[in-house]
């Protein structure tokens, strides 16, 4: 990232809201005055370049990316009396306002933590007055459960549950998108996304598109900030990535 008078971030963004707030502050905008369309493309640039993206939270970043694209694509379509996209946008803005508060409190706590870390406590107290026992008030039900879980694991008589995350069918979307490209030659991605029914489907489509771009199977181009995204199949043998210019 080029320095532009604003602080350069050295750590990765906690999540999409963190990144969005950063972009808003960078533009010195008030959260309540923000138009999602003004920050969508910058958000996507970050995602593409992978700058400061917490790798274990990619899914959350992509989820928000699809929401942004959804909001933006709806706003591009001539449907002035629609309430749906407004609620989507205002919900996101509300989240940002709330998250802004969370960050302020977190900063305050961090300052307090710093103030405490310079005060040293005794590292050990005499045996006479200390027993290696637990006081009940110090034991929470969580610790009780944790102890039991360890016993269960130790005795190996129980199968441990594994929670699997929801599985989005990227594979099916991939077949569909590649099929459309074979048939039509290109896809206007915003128009395509705008025709989908659910946020989930938008999300899956966006995931899939990113994956196809990374695999260099397709080329996605957005000529200018508010233009639609056009998707072509990658010509065979061309891997340079310089397309559409």
């Amino acid at each position: 990232m080029q320095t532009d008078g604003y602080q350069v971030r050295t750590e990765s963004f906690e999540g999409p809201l963190d990144l969005l707030l950063y972009l808003i502050r960078k533009k010195k905008m008030n959260i309540m005055d923000v138009r999602i369309s003004e920050i969508t493309s910058e958000y996507l640039h970050y995602l593409e370049d992978h700058r400061g993206i917490n790798p274990s939270r990619e899914g959350d970043f992509l989820m928000t990316a699809s929401t942004l694209i959804y909001i933006k694509s709806r706003s591009l379509l001539p449907r002035p009396d629609s309430v749906a996209e407004d609620s989507e946008e205002s919900r996101l803005l509300h989240s940002l306002v709330e998250y802004d508060k969370v960050q302020k409190i977190a900063r305050l706590l961090q300052e307090k933590e710093g103030g405490q870390l310079v005060l040293w406590r005794r590292q050990e107290v005499p045996e006479n007055f200390e027993t290696r026992e637990y006081e009940l008030e110090e034991v929470s039900s969580f610790q009780l459960a944790e102890l039991f879980l360890n016993l269960v694991k130790r005795s190996e008589r129980e199968r441990v549950f594994y929670i699997t995350s929801k599985n989005y069918s990227i594979e099916e979307k991939r077949v569909e998108i590649l099929g459309m490209l074979d048939r039509d030659g290109f896809i206007d991605f915003v128009a395509y996304v705008a025709g989908l029914d659910s946020i989930e489907e938008v999300l899956v489509s966006f995931f899939t598109l990113l994956e196809l771009v990374k695999l260099r199977l397709v080329v996605a181009v957005q000529k200018r900030l508010f233009d639609s995204i056009s998707v072509w199949k990658q010509p065979a043998g061309d891997e340079s990535g310089n397309h559409g210019h």
Binding site: G15, D60, K104, A106, K112, S141, F142
Partner: protein, 198 residues
Amino acid sequence: MNPEIMDTDRAFNSMEDRLAFMEAVLFVSREPISPDRLADFFACKDAAEFSELVEAFEARLAEAHRGLQLHRTGGGLQLVTRADRHEELKAFFAVRAHSRLTIASLETMSIVAYRQPVTIAEISEMRGVNSIGPVKNLLQKKMIRISGRKKVPGRPALYSTTREFLKYFGLNDLSELPSLEELTEMFEEKEQPSLFSV
């Protein structure tokens, strides 16, 4: 009053004597000592008598040759070193840096502190990312606890802050945290760089 305490043969003859015992008790204890417990033990007539004692104790600690101070945290009294000795202590014990909570844990802690009791789903929604990791971390550090179940399908656990939370951040009780309005004012004064920027 606890009969067991009455059983023991004690006689605190003077203020000096009480101060000496107070020092010994605070020196020995790992946890902050409840003022009520101490006042009880000294059989103080009233709160004023105990306050006087604490003030006398602090006055002695304030002398130039002392390296400790009295700290009020988590609703109790605790002896800690003076803040201005930090760098020297670090040098003496060759300690590099104290571990701090991660930003994720601080954010999660903030939400629990201001929104308690709160579920993991609510925390995750506010942060915009799955927050099971930091919740687990804070549970293990005993800074939050399960305080009940929300009456919605699935009956998810509700989390609240603990005394350990107060102790860690040097708070006497939750009311010492500023309100959200005060917080906004506090931060509007300064510029608003992100928490995480250098």
